[in-house]
């Protein structure tokens, strides 16, 4: 990263903050509608201990939810790819379940799982494991059929074919899914507050 790379976004950010500050001052926007950046910075300095503590809790919720989504999502994706029966049994339900807004069931989750860390982790997990499954399934399926024929003619079993061919081929898709999932798990953890 050079100055050429990070100067445009940095300058844009500075300009936005300046415009914000000026707009709040010139238009006399009350603080309870939109505080000026200077006021926010002051509050952040004053309350840093409280903010840091809560940021840490949110980070924990996000990371735990995300880790659960990876740990559950990738094996489910593998099961869907390797077993037509499992695919037919759970894939439609999985896609259908996504039409239920997770935010709407958040109060229920709190009712079931109590207050504290767990329900927030659960929402972060529920909201983020779907893109991981979908992208991993797409990735594992993107291997050319000829490559799988070759693997069999080389005498390789399913395990070795997965490690040497299928999984590495799927990695770009898996990472794309993780990228979407990690942002969603942030949303999930925060909304539940």
């Amino acid at each position: 990263m050079t100055w050429r790379d990070w100067s445009p976004p940095l300058l844009t950010l500075v300009a936005m903050v300046v415009v914000w500050e000026l707009a709040v001052a010139l238009l006399r926007v009350p603080e309870y509608i939109l505080p000026a950046p200077r006021g926010i910075a002051a509050a952040m300095v004053k309350e840093w201990r409280y903010l840091a503590q809560h940021t840490w809790i949110t980070v924990q919720e996000v990371l735990l939810g995300f880790a659960m989504a990876v740990a559950v999502g990738i094996p489910i994706a593998m099961a869907i790819v390797y077993s037509p029966l499992i695919e037919r049994a759970i894939y439609p339900l999985l896609v259908g379940s996504q039409s239920v807004p997770k935010i709407a069931i958040a109060p229920l989750l709190i009712f079931w799982a109590g207050l504290g860390l767990f329900p927030k982790v659960l929402v972060a997990f529920l909201i983020s494991f779907f893109p991981i499954i979908i992208d991993t399934v797409v990735g594992l399926r993107s291997v050319e059929p000829e490559m799988l024929h070759l693997a069999r003619s080389m005498g390789a079993g399913a395990g070795r074919t997965f490690v040497k061919i299928r999984f590495p081929t799927a990695l770009p898709n898996i990472f794309a899914g993780l990228k979407v999932a990690v942002t969603l798990s942030v949303v999930g953890a925060i909304v539940n507050k």
């Binding site: 000829e146 024929h149 003619s153 040497k164 590495p168």
Partner: protein, 267 residues
């Protein structure tokens, strides 16, 4: 080559594919032998079941009926004592040319290190010296196909199945690859089943050419090519060569696969 022992014996082979519109007969009662060390081509129109035939011999598909003993043993599972080359090189994008060749051994659970020298040598023999460490996207289509050929040869299999291996290459590269394949197969004493659309390619490379009918695939005729080896590219201008090509082309005309123009003066 034609009087060597039988290596692949195809007898009364039928393969039917179920489709939503009903069963489709891809191969309908195919019988032929491939002799050890023979170069046998199968030429036919698209959809005549040529690729299905290769898949059946490789044990990657089950026949609906009929048997295929290879080297005396009926094929009932994926065969491993062969090399396969497809129309696409299907290389792994994150592996160098050398490592793509060595994949063959890793997948077999063998130690790729003990095959390194042989892999270098193979790559050099197909003109890829200096490209061993390149990734597939840095290679031309012809180079990638050469890597795929080396991968099919690294374990020194007695049988080579090639399913339209030059189908995606430009005409000049095809000519060079045809010559290279001739050299490789003559040196290694390989038995080769070569599947192609190109009559010229089939005649140039083969000891025998099997002409197929359109779906359902049956054997139309078998042509023995008696041209001395090694064959230079110029052999294609010889009257004898033209005679073989015309003979096969006439079969496709008789089938209606090819239709010549009618109102032109005969040459």
């Amino acid at each position: 080559m034609l009087n060597g022992p039988k290596f692949v014996e195809v007898s009364d082979l039928v393969r039917v594919f179920p489709t939503p519109e009903g069963p489709v007969r891809a191969l309908d009662g195919l019988s032929f032998d491939v002799r050890r060390g023979e170069f046998l081509s199968v030429v036919g129109p698209s959809g005549c079941g040529k690729s299905t035939l290769a898949m059946l011999i490789a044990g990657l598909l089950r026949p609906t009926s009929g048997v295929i003993p290879v080297d005396g043993r009926a094929v009932d599972r994926p065969q491993t004592d062969l090399g396969i080359v497809f129309q696409n090189a299907v290389l792994l994008a994150w592996r160098t040319a050398l490592d793509n060749v060595l994949l063959q051994l890793e997948m077999r659970g063998l130690d790729p290190r003990s095959y390194r020298d042989r892999a270098w040598e193979l790559l050099r023999s197909v003109g890829l010296e200096g490209f061993e460490r390149r990734l597939p996207h840095e290679l031309s289509g012809g180079m990638r196909q050469r890597v795929a050929i080396c991968r099919a040869l690294i374990h020194d299999p007695p049988l080579l199945l090639m399913d339209e291996p030059f189908g995606a290459l430009d005409a000049l590269t095809r000519d060079q690859m045809t010559l290279d394949i001739q050299g490789i197969c003559a040196r290694g004493g390989k038995t080769v089943l070569f599947i192609t659309h190109s009559i010229t390619e089939a005649v140039f490379l083969s000891d025998r050419v099997i002409v197929m009918t359109p779906r359902p695939g049956r054997i139309d005729s078998v042509v023995e090519v008696e041209l001395p080896r090694p064959r230079r590219l110029a052999v294609r201008e010889l009257p004898a060569f033209a005679g073989y090509v015309r003979g096969i082309r006439d079969r496709f005309m008789a089938q209606g696969v090819l239709r010549d123009i009618e109102e032109a003066p005969a040459p």
